[in-house]
Symmetry: C2
Subunit: 391 residues, 2 copies
């Protein structure tokens, strides 16, 4: 017979989930109520308003999909596209490739604009594709590539999409709450995120937002959305005005308590302060790494503060280092994916995990794990370098 | 600025979610760990084994989909069907209609076998359809119709499906853990359930199970599954053998702690005891109702113990009664849907909510709310009748 599962207490500095604020875990465990309860409907309204704040949007259709970020991605593509449509997809990491899968499974054509993993999306190549494919319905790109630590220039890409009359679709799974993002000001038409990155909530929910233009596209479709569960025509009825809500599915009540609390934390801190905090701890962390002789894969201009791709030095066993961190320090960091497997570690400084305590803990752990692998580094310099940034 | 959300403490006796055992809420709030953590992978293995116990199956492909029951339903249909396929769907309530939506959105034909809401699926009509449509790929039906309180004869329906060489698909959202269900012995090929009914976990997860025959169908598809998120070829890689798991999405860590705990509770009690408990409290509840002069919509032979469709007596304002129960007793029950709106209340006795305390609480509340609406009932008789069943 199995026993109750008592997880180890880890420090989560991988590509997500990130450390969850205890306040959010406490909210999660409050008593379950029904999804048609007037009190729950009030909560839904508050969550919508808090998400509008986080996304910097007035979009009415702003809500969390009752499933992880990958379902949010799928919701955006299957609602905006109909069979035979064409979409331009920027790909410079794992998640651009996933977008392509979604477009093709909806019976549509994906025109790929590929850039190297670790490089930012090239604006000129995107403009060339837009000029060449004037029949494209949408332009999609990843704001913060979790697989490489690259931040793409969402503002400029969105402007390009608008200029060529495409719907602008943004993957903000790892960007929301961590770096500047302005849905309305930048002209984004559809965006999806995840709960478990810079919002520091538990995984399993995907905040989305659709502009009035995108809503018009969804409402005037000629064919039904291929997914019943993700059909925004039905989902917006469920999350719509309190007075005339219609049953669709059963919302995940307790995770929504947690998301509400996570969004409250963000609002209390303030978006700009949260962005600055992510930036500060990133700078301290990188200073420490560099003092240890390590380096970051991504050019300074495109680096994400919340996801640091650290090059694995020659002669170091990257998997062994991760195991040492996990087993001796209860510290989780991520491995490289695809072409970058074995070449980088991915260190997240997301949401609640973006803190001085975590930066110093991680630097110490790295230092001692590298020394254990006989890498000739002078100990103590990393912490000093990081502390200098804080002082 | 919004404040933290502190839900009222309700008694959940609607069509779901049901009362959640505090032990499960406590498990839910344990520290989040990464979805690639060796400890989490161990948890996934335990959940799979516990679900096999609950479903009475040896099916290797048995796991929880990271989304609510409606996504579980969609996962089953989009994986088993390819465009142009034909499916026979039994419909005697809201969820048969939802199956039809799923089949049609997958580009397939749904042959509907309709029965009245409140009646069980007619086996002869199903056999006629099976004889007529020898090209049908699957037969699908709802085991426990949450919209009407009717239990369909899953064992007999599954046997019919097998006899005519159809894959047998079962909606067990409200049946799993509440009434006898034997996936292997009855020859069920694909089944989905929900976490928030007789398992008494929070809403948001959908346990599913596929027979080896169904897995073979999925693996030998000619076309890709239209949903990337629900593609079982990818999901089974993620939930597969610990030694070679491949990343798909990020599992909802904490809700899976809760599901694990809920399944442990079920295993500790024992499946047969759980079924007997649901039956006992149902009988006590119905005795009490009848002593009050109320009656159940569904024939005794097809009644679900976990979902009681109570007829609204003439002259009673059904919505007012529900409001009274909610506001004065913190007690949630459900309304009728579709053709039964205004004609029935739906009273759930599911999982942790299937208890003597809840039965007596609900009977008292009903009695006093009906007296308040001037229904001439003799008070006190309901409780006595219920207690007689317990004695």
């Amino acid at each position: 017979m199995s026993n109750s599962f008592h997880p180890p207490v880890r420090t989560l500095m991988g590509p997500g989930p990130s450390d969850v604020n205890p306040r959010i875990l406490e909210a999660l465990s409050r008593p379950t109520i029904g999804h048609l309860d007037p009190e729950f409907i009030r909560l839904m309204d508050e969550i919508k308003a808090l998400l509008q704040y986080a996304f910097k949007t007035k979009n009415e259709l702003t809500l969390p999909i009752s499933a992880p970020g990958s379902a949010g991605m799928e919701a955006v593509f299957v609602n905006l596209l109909e069979r035979g449509d064409k979409a331009i997809i920027c790909s410079n990491g794992a998640f651009g490739g996933r977008m392509q899968e979604n477009v093709e499974r909806a019976g549509c054509t994906a025109v790929m604009v590929n850039d190297e993993w670790g490089q930012a999306v090239n604006l000129e190549k995107v403009e060339t594709a837009l000029k060449q494919h004037t029949d494209a319905k949408l332009l999609a790109f990843v704001h913060a590539e979790t697989s490489t630590g690259v931040g793409n220039d969402a503002k400029a890409l969105a402007a390009l999409g608008q200029q060529y009359d495409c719907l602008v679709v943004v993957d903000a799974v790892t960007s929301l709450g961590g770096i500047p993002l302005e849905v309305d000001a930048w002209g984004i038409d559809a965006i999806y995120s995840g709960s478990q990155k810079c919002l520091s909530c538990i995984p399993g929910l995907s905040p989305v937002s659709f502009s009035p233009k995108a809503v018009e596209v969804i409402k005037s479709r000629k064919t039904k959305v291929q997914s019943w569960f993700l059909d925004m025509n039905l989902v917006m009825g469920y999350w719509g005005q309190s007075t005339k809500r219609s049953y669709h599915h059963t919302a995940p009540i307790n995770p929504l308590y947690a998301l509400h609390e996570a969004l409250l934390c963000l609002q209390e801190e303030g978006l700009v302060s949260a962005w600055e905090r992510h930036n500060l701890h990133h700078r301290a962390f990188v200073s420490g790494l560099e003092a240890m002789g390590l380096s970051i894969l991504v050019d300074q201009a495109s680096r994400l503060p919340q996801l640091n791709a650290v090059r694995v030095p020659d002669g170091v066993d990257e998997a062994l280092l991760r195991r040492t961190l996990l087993n001796q320090y209860d510290l989780e960091i991520g491995a490289g994916l695809g072409a970058l497997a074995g070449k980088i570690w991915r260190v997240g400084l997301m949401g609640f995990a973006s803190s001085q305590k975590n930066v110093l803990h991680c630097l110490s752990a790295f230092e001692s794990a590298l020394v254990a692998q006989n890498l000739p580094i002078s100990t103590g310099r990393a912490i000093n370098a990081a502390l200098k940034v804080y002082s």
